[in-house]
Symmetry: C2
Subunit: 250 residues, 2 copies
């Protein structure tokens, strides 16, 4: 069933007012009319089965049939800090990362990132990525849309405090005090904890970046024994966390 994320302004006492692109999609693309049903999601992640009541030129009014008890979100909030990769790979990371349950994305201007974003270009890209995240949330039946943040520098990443787990993907010496195996991390995640993981661009994280992250108490983790491309890493960590928390722990 079609799913739409409706902003706060659209929710009014048991009714939902749908406008703009979503209204256009319902009327012109899906060609729905009165009595047809859709799913509407609130900004805070609840989903309701709704029935269309009035379809006009300007907007659509729907009534809430019932609230749905959907458990479609990962029990922990995973923030993917992605070193800017080449070409359109970031779009794939945003899209598939959203399908796989990421809570938030932070594009990271890494030392070895070939691409650089200037102010105007960055703004346009972030808007585009946010749109991709919204579409991917709808298609994967999530009840929340991951936020796509502005590009961060190494110092900004290193200064992030409010995360229960701060990790970076790096093939480190297993004896290093800053190394943790995924076995020490993932089974110890508890509901509603927040996980931040830094993934380097093609060429990986530089020695300086690794030092700065370690100094700021980030722990290195290995994502299996094979080397993964920059744009594949997020899929490994998100799938592993989902498998542990949403399949094994059930």
């Amino acid at each position: 069933m079609q799913r739409y994320f409706i902003p706060a302004s659209g929710w009014q006492e048991g009714k939902v007012i749908i406008t703009g692109e979503d209204a256009h999609h319902i009327k012109r693309v899906m060609r729905m009319t009165e009595d047809d049903e859709i799913i509407c999601c609130t900004p805070d992640g609840r989903a309701a089965l709704c029935q269309l009541e009035v379809v006009t030129e300007d907007d659509i009014k729907a009534s809430i049939v019932r609230w749905l008890d959907e458990q479609k979100e990962l029990p922990v909030n995973v923030t993917i800090v992605q070193g800017l990769p080449k070409g359109d790979k970031m779009e794939l990371v945003i899209q598939k990362g959203t399908e796989l349950g990421a809570h938030e994305f932070i594009p990271f201007a890494a030392e070895r990132s070939i691409v650089k974003w200037d102010g105007k270009k960055a703004k346009k890209k972030i808007e585009r990525y946010q749109k991709i995240a919204k579409e991917a949330s709808e298609q994967s039946h999530r009840t929340q849309i991951p936020q796509v943040n502005d590009v961060h520098t190494l110092d900004q990443i290193a200064s992030l405090q409010s995360y229960d787990w701060k990790l970076f993907a790096f093939e480190d010496e297993a004896k290093s005090s800053t190394y943790r195996s995924l076995k020490e991390v993932i089974p110890n995640l508890t509901e509603e904890q927040s996980v931040l993981i830094v993934i380097g661009p093609e060429g990986g994280l530089s020695e300086k970046e690794v030092d700065v992250l370690k100094t700021h108490e980030f722990l290195s983790v290995r994502l299996g024994p094979r080397i993964l491309r920059s744009e594949t890493a997020h899929a490994y960590i998100l799938s592993s966390i989902s498998y542990q928390l949403e399949e094994l722990n059930q």
Copy 2:
């Protein structure tokens, strides 16, 4: 360190003879000379540290310094049966599936596959995909190259016998006798078992395809609670198996 997969003919009593594209890569792209070191993999999955001895116009002769004890392959053989997806998505599945440890790929001409491959076109595509698999194995430091098979029909897939586990990704009723949660499957995998998993194209598997697979004792599994795109599913299952067998079980 650069890694090359050398065919059987190249291995001769402690020496390795490298020819063709690999020799060209070593000489012209990497610009290596005598005494430089590389890693050479045998067809049966062993890896050796080698030192270049003689570099000529025609070929390169290297000596084996020592055999490496590399555990880079998934302990189980996972065959990804991928419903033909649109555009160049199959290339991404082959590339990332290889990074993530797949043993074999079988392209599947599903009922809802938009793309159809005729004989000539299929042959060229398979060759291209096999090349992508080889490059991805080298870059991910694997010791084996996954095989890319010819396109299979539903009946050919259904008739496959020699697998310990035959699965298909499908959001089935949890009470159905043919449904298994990943919790019942993945922790029960033992070393050297073979796993076959069928993934539908965009639009999913048809009712008829699901019936045929169930009749042939395929079990349906859910890949987390979110709907994944056709080209994302392989990453979820491979990552989950890797996480269980290569991280949790260690």
